[in-house]
């Protein structure tokens, strides 16, 4: 009966209208069936690679020539969250048959890269057919030393759990390793402020100054592999292998970039304010407060310059020269990416207006970042117990009349009210903050809740000031006073 119903179902199914393209793509049974070695040989021929035959199955192994890519491991190890200098690093990236890390998604291509002295070596393992997966897992496990750190991009959330699932499908444990550095997290913390998004390709462009040409789109990859399995042409997989190769190499270049740009105090002098802010916060997360303060001190002490000019002064980095001829182009790293500036609506404007607006936004952004640095520094000083310096830092920020001056006034008001119990002075600070907030409704700085906070403070201070001294604070008599006056008063007093 089941067979009968299937026959009926089949008829109905064929009768139903469907796009002819879909029908054309159907392969007849048998067409897609090949011995594993046959598929492996076809792939190897197309990719100029070798076939590794094991009792578990065949694997196509692709190895490019090792290339010079010096990495200052000591410098890297000084950075927060980065691996110790003495452990092996294994860069890893996978290409898969889908996006779900569920049981039916296969990692059909695993790219690996590691350093042998100053040379970066890359090997890719490509699955010629689904039954050969145990061989791929075997080879992969043998290539990850147990004391090594994995280096990935979003590998914590995707690549590695997927591989763990593949090992689990084969009823075995995934290879142990000592640590996992997911560069997505690092890039987000340090560089996201100057990137439109945190994708690896965006990071390559923004940080390494390289743009890919003819790169295959991620969404095309599963389909290319699956149609190869169904008896298709191996040729469309060539760009997929190249794509994976570049992904792995980019991991290495990003590490080198980190070490070179931020690895020690001197190298950081040229880093953009935003990078330093991210770095300081990351140091703080690890409790390395002194190093965080060093970053902040350095940033606030240097003159305010647009990020672009700083980057122009930077020396060319290894990443920019690594591209294989034709595939990756190098371009000067001077192009600023006004990433935070919405640019879509600018498209129709003339270039002049675009540049003008972009420059103004750049300037405003630079100003905001500088204020954020100052605020971070003042908070850190307070956290370190250096109260006087913290207070001076808040004064400086308040006096700057920058985007975050109002925040600084609030902090000063807190100190004046709760530590020094000088309520009239605190009220003056609140008034100054008020007028700043009122005058800067459109400023970039997001100051959520500040309005309500100021109102509560004012009400409380008015009460306490009246109760304490009986005099009406001057600021209530002359509410029109400019924001700078109280700052001066406070500084002098």
């Amino acid at each position: 009966m089941l067979a009968r119903r299937l026959a009926t179902f089949r008829r109905e199914d064929t009768a139903a209208a469907r796009p002819s393209g879909h029908v054309a793509q159907r392969s007849t049974a048998g067409n897609g069936r090949h011995r594993g070695t046959e598929l492996a040989n076809r792939l190897a021929a197309a990719l100029d690679a070798e076939v590794v035959v094991t009792p578990q199955g065949s694997i196509v192994r692709i190895e490019a020539a090792a290339r010079a890519l010096p990495l200052d491991r000591e410098a890297l190890a000084h950075l927060p969250g980065q691996p110790p200098a003495n452990v092996p690093l294994v860069c890893l990236d996978t290409e898969t048959t889908g996006l779900a890390t569920a049981a039916g998604t296969v990692a059909f291509l695993v790219g690996l890269g590691w350093w042998e002295d100053s040379r970066f070596r890359q090997v890719q393992l490509l699955l010629p057919d689904q039954p050969d997966e145990p061989a791929l897992l075997d080879l992969l496990a043998s290539m990850i030393p147990s004391h090594a750190w994995l280096v990935t991009y979003n590998g914590r959330g995707f690549d590695w759990p997927l591989l763990v699932a593949r090992f689990r499908m084969a009823r075995r444990d995934a290879p142990p390793h000592a640590g996992h550095l997911d560069l997505l997290a690092t890039v987000r913390r340090l560089f996201r402020h100057r990137m439109a998004d945190a994708r690896l390709r965006t990071a390559e462009e923004a940080l390494l100054g390289i743009a890919r040409v003819d790169d295959v789109e991620g969404w095309e990859i599963p389909g290319r592999y699956l149609s190869f399995l169904r008896g298709g042409d191996p040729q469309p997989l060539v760009p997929v292998v190249q794509h994976n190769d570049r992904d792995v190499r980019s991991l290495a270049c990003l590490l080198a970039h980190l070490a070179d740009e931020l690895g020690d105090h001197d190298r950081r002098r040229l880093a953009p304010d935003g990078d330093l802010l991210g770095l300081a916060r990351t140091f703080q997360r690890e409790g390395r407060l002194d190093e965080a303060l060093q970053c902040l001190d350095m940033a606030v002490q240097r003159p305010l310059r647009p990020a672009a000019s700083l980057r122009a002064a930077a020396t060319p980095r290894p990443g920019a020269t690594l591209g294989s001829a034709g595939a990756i182009t190098s371009r000067p790293a001077v192009v600023p990416r006004p990433a935070v500036v919405p640019s879509a609506w600018l498209v129709d404007r003339t270039d002049d207006i675009r540049v003008a607006i972009a420059q103004r936004s750049q300037a405003r952004l630079a100003r905001l970042t500088r204020d954020q640095l100052a605020r971070e520094r003042a908070r850190l000083l307070r956290r370190l117990g250096r109260r006087d310096e913290a207070r001076l830092a808040w004064h400086a920020l308040a006096g700057s009349s920058g985007p975050l001056a109002a925040v600084a006034y609030v902090e000063l008001a807190k100190i004046l009210e709760h530590v020094e119990r000088d309520f009239p002075a605190a009220l003056d600070a609140v008034t100054a903050a008020d007028s700043l907030v009122a005058g800067s409704a459109s400023v970039d700085a997001p100051l959520p809740g500040l309005h309500a906070d100021l109102r509560r403070r004012r009400e409380r201070l008015v009460r306490r000031a009246a109760g304490d001294t009986g005099r009406v604070p001057a600021s209530l008599e002359t509410p029109g006073r400019g924001p700078h006056a109280p700052a001066h008063a406070l500084l002098n007093g």
């Binding site: 009966m1 089941l2 067979a3 009968r4 119903r5 299937l6 009926t8 179902f9 089949r10 008829r11 109905e12 199914d13 793509q25 159907r26 392969s27 007849t28 049974a29 897609g32 069936r33 090949h34 011995r35 594993g36 046959e38 598929l39 048959t97 889908g98 996006l99 779900a100 890390t101 569920a102 049981a103 039916g104 057919d129 689904q130 039954p131 763990v164 699932a165 689990r168 499908m169 009823r171 599963p222 389909g223 699956l226 399995l229 169904r230």
Partner: protein, 765 residues
């Protein structure tokens, strides 16, 4: 009788039976004597900690069915436990699971409940027993509401995972590698509320279990399956079909019960010519009110959401002039939000809620304690459901009363006048068809995604290779060089399949009356066509809402609170087209067939009907897209159509069709709503007069094939039903409501059935 003094159940019943207008309608009064408990000792192997835990909860011996069940599970045999509502079935699986964990803390168990709410009740109960036993057991619900951080903890450390089939299907099985500890150590699978796994849902769940057991085999575990069911006709067969195993039946009920009165009540015949009877809803209120006024906890079941709201309104209004309990009567049905329902359940358990008016939503094992009286406004459609609903009344000691008030519908009338059908007849058999191709193929896809198929590997009834070959043509799977079938698509197949096709998509109902619009409920698409079309009056908690706008694409209905004197009732137009014939055979006067059909349902018009009098106040059109249903059907054609006038033939087909539908639902023991009827004077397919009875779920659950086999019984039974009816010229109980009074529908339908081979001898007598 409008007395608001506390009284015993016996006293209230005596008063009711002393009221002639009510007593007249009682066609049967059955007294089911009290039953003492049958106990068995705790088995010797039971861990002392569990004994202590049981003792602390006042349990030092087991009911016989509990002892039987845990002994079988201990011996490694699958069981299906069949006992009435609230007979302590939880212990039947809680004890084996606790024992397994006491023996080896790495043991795991999986509890499946058809709904989230039931699972939450059970995990609480199980947790209490575990704590009382001093066992540290990590028992957690894993469902759509489980927060993400807790999910990963449950995956790795949850010893007892409580979930529902939908979650197992879409979230657990496709991610089995993250659950390997569960699959490797799975000792017990509990399938509670087995009787709910019927029809298309059951067919899906059977396949989900096939996938589950396949993964267990992969991970090397061999769990025992414990099924628990309410009383149904074929529990062993159902459990076997659902699980693919051969379970041992445990049905030696040892739970005690007090004396129970069952009254079958018929509303008065208002018009012998039309067969019209008084309203079951109105009569049910009259039977329920005295119990409420006497302070006895009472549940009233309505057959539809609308009936529930009408009952609730009526009962509340009748209680209004009396002091007190009005606010203690609540409504309960599918459209209410979960928090609202939990509060009502709690209120029933602690006595705060005195009365509840419910749809069959309270048939399931939701824990509401035991009540004094149950009043059923209309036959619930199946014997099993009837006993489930009646079972809500019945304390362990003391008297309880259940009243079944029939409606005028043919099946109700049949049941009420044949008490043996309810009391002695075996309850209906739950049907499911795990090999429904729509269902099966969807799950073969999901199974391949989860684990490649070996060549010749069976899935359910046989090797899956033919199905996989079909899926290979479709591009979902491929057979590799090693002969195994691998998933070869980017898609995630489980996400494309809902286990509850009927409720795949819901329309959310949004009340725009308050300043901040709020969601007050939801209905499935099919129901939405007739419940929340524009200008419908939608009833919720006995409040009326006018549907201002139905955004069909967004699945949102915007309603506004109103106070009007009418409600709305919508009609559907159903068209049917045969797609394929599975079997065809000559029958007297025609042909019988079964096969696949396409049914299209279109909501057409609605009527405004005045409360109480049902007077027609007007009508309007409904503009909604058609909903299509591909399913299986049984049909018959009439070859000799000569000598019929067209309008007479039409009336005869409809009349005979109605009778066939009634008889079919009785013969197959299914809810008549599970079978759809379509008649065609000249079928475009056969070019002959045709009557179709179709399975009302996508793909069908095997009803059509069985009707095909019982063709002769159907024709004979339909003729007998019409002949034995007391009406003149047709009534709702036999040939359906009379649409053209000048036609003798009874005679025409009988003439047609005779032509189809119905014996004439009885008619002559």
């Amino acid at each position: 009788m409008r007395r608001y003094a506390p009284a015993t159940v016996e006293a209230v019943l005596e008063d009711l039976l002393g009221e002639p207008s009510l007593a007249r309608g009682v066609v049967h009064h059955e007294v089911i004597p009290a039953r003492p408990a049958a106990y068995a000792p705790l088995p010797a192997w039971l861990d002392p900690r569990i004994r202590t835990g049981l003792a602390s909860r006042g349990i030092d011996q087991l009911y016989t069915h509990q002892a039987d069940a845990i002994q079988e599970v201990r011996a490694g045999r699958d069981v299906v436990v069949v006992t009435p509502t609230a007979s302590g079935k939880t212990l039947c699986y809680a004890l084996p699971v606790l024992q397994a964990i006491a023996d080896d803390p790495s043991s795991r168990a999986l509890f499946l409940f058809p709904t989230k709410a039931l699972g939450q009740d059970q995990v609480a109960e199980f947790g209490e027993l575990a704590r009382a036993s001093g066992l540290v057991v990590n028992a957690s619900t894993y469902d759509g509401d489980t927060p993400a951080p807790i999910r990963s903890a449950i995956r790795t450390a949850g010893q007892v995972v409580v979930t529902n089939p939908d979650m197992l299907h879409a979230a657990i099985l496709p991610h089995h590698t993250k659950w390997f500890q569960l699959f490797e150590q799975l000792r017990v699978i509990v399938v509670d509320e087995l009787h709910t796994y019927r029809g298309v849902f059951g067919s899906h769940v059977a396949n989900v279990l096939r996938r589950l057991l396949r993964l267990c085999a992969h991970y090397g575990s061999h769990p025992v399956i414990v099924c628990c069911s309410a009383t149904i006709g074929n529990p062993t067969e159902l459990a076997a079909t659902l699980t693919g195993r051969a379970p041992v039946l445990v049905d030696r009920n040892g739970a005690p019960s007090g004396e129970r009165h069952l009254l079958l009540v018929d509303p008065p015949l208002l018009d012998p010519a039309s067969g019209a009877r008084g309203s079951a809803v109105t009569l049910a209120q009259r039977w329920a009110l005295p119990f409420l006024r006497a302070g006895r906890q009472t549940i009233v079941f309505g057959r539809s959401r609308t009936a529930v709201e009408l009952l609730l309104t009526g009962i509340r209004e009748s209680l209004r002039d009396g002091a007190g309990p009005r606010s203690r009567v609540r409504g309960y049905r599918g459209g209410y939000l979960p928090t609202e329902r939990r509060a009502i359940e709690r209120g029933l358990r602690d006595g705060e809620v005195l009365g509840v008016v419910s749809t069959n939503a309270l048939e399931l094992g939701v824990d509401i304690g035991r009540l004094d009286a149950a009043v059923l406004a209309g036959y619930p459609g199946s014997i099993a459901a009837t006993w489930q609903q009646i079972g809500r009344a019945g304390r362990r000691q003391g008297v309880s009363v259940a009243v079944l008030v029939a409606s005028g519908s043919p099946v109700d009338q049949y049941v009420i006048h044949h008490p043996e059908f309810l009391l002695a007849g075996s309850p209906e058999e739950a049907r499911l068809d795990p090999d429904n191709l729509h269902v099966l193929l969807a799950h073969v896809k999901a199974a391949t995604f989860e684990l490649p198929f070996a060549q010749g590997e069976t899935f359910g009834s046989g090797p899956a290779d033919d199905l996989l070959a079909f899926l290979e043509e479709e591009g979902h799977v491929r057979q590799a060089g090693d002969g195994r079938w691998y998933w070869s698509s980017e898609n995630f197949p489980a996400s494309a399949v809902s286990l509850r096709t009927a409720a795949q998509e819901n329309v959310v109902i949004i009340d725009t009356t308050p300043d901040r619009p709020r969601v007050i409920g939801e209905v499935d698409l099919f129901a939405a066509q007739t419940l929340v079309h524009e200008d419908a009056i939608y009833l919720h908690e006995s409040a009326q809402f006018h549907v201002d706008r139905l955004d069909w694409d967004e699945r949102k209905a915007y309603v506004r609170r109103v106070d009007v004197d009418h409600y709305t009732q919508a009609d559907r137009a159903v068209t049917l087209k045969p797609l394929d014939v599975f079997a065809e055979d000559a029958a007297p006067g025609g042909t019988r067939l079964h096969g696949e059909v396409m049914v299209a349902s279109l909501a057409t018009i609605y009527k405004k009907l005045k409360f109480v009098t049902n007077e027609n106040l007007g009508w309007g059109r409904i503009h909604l897209p058609e909903i299509e249903l591909q399913t299986t059907a049984y049909w018959l054609t009439v070859t000799e159509a000569g000598g019929w006038r067209r309008n007479e033939l039409d009336a005869a087909l409809v009349g005979a069709g109605r009778a066939l539908q009634t008889v079919a639902s009785v013969v197959l023991m299914v809810d008549p709503r599970d079978l759809g009827l379509v008649t065609q004077v000249r079928s475009p397919h056969h070019e002959l007069p045709t009557v179709f009875l179709y399975d009302a779920v996508p793909g069908g659950v095997g009803l059509a094939e069985r009707l095909y086999a019982r063709h002769v019984d159907l024709i004979t039974g339909a003729a007998a039903l019409i002949r034995e009816c007391e009406c003149q010229g047709g009534c709702p109980a036999c040939t359906g409501p009379r649409l053209e009074p000048e036609l003798d529908v009874t005679g025409l339908a009988l003439r047609l059935l005779a032509q189809l081979g119905a014996p004439l001898s009885v008619a002559a007598a």
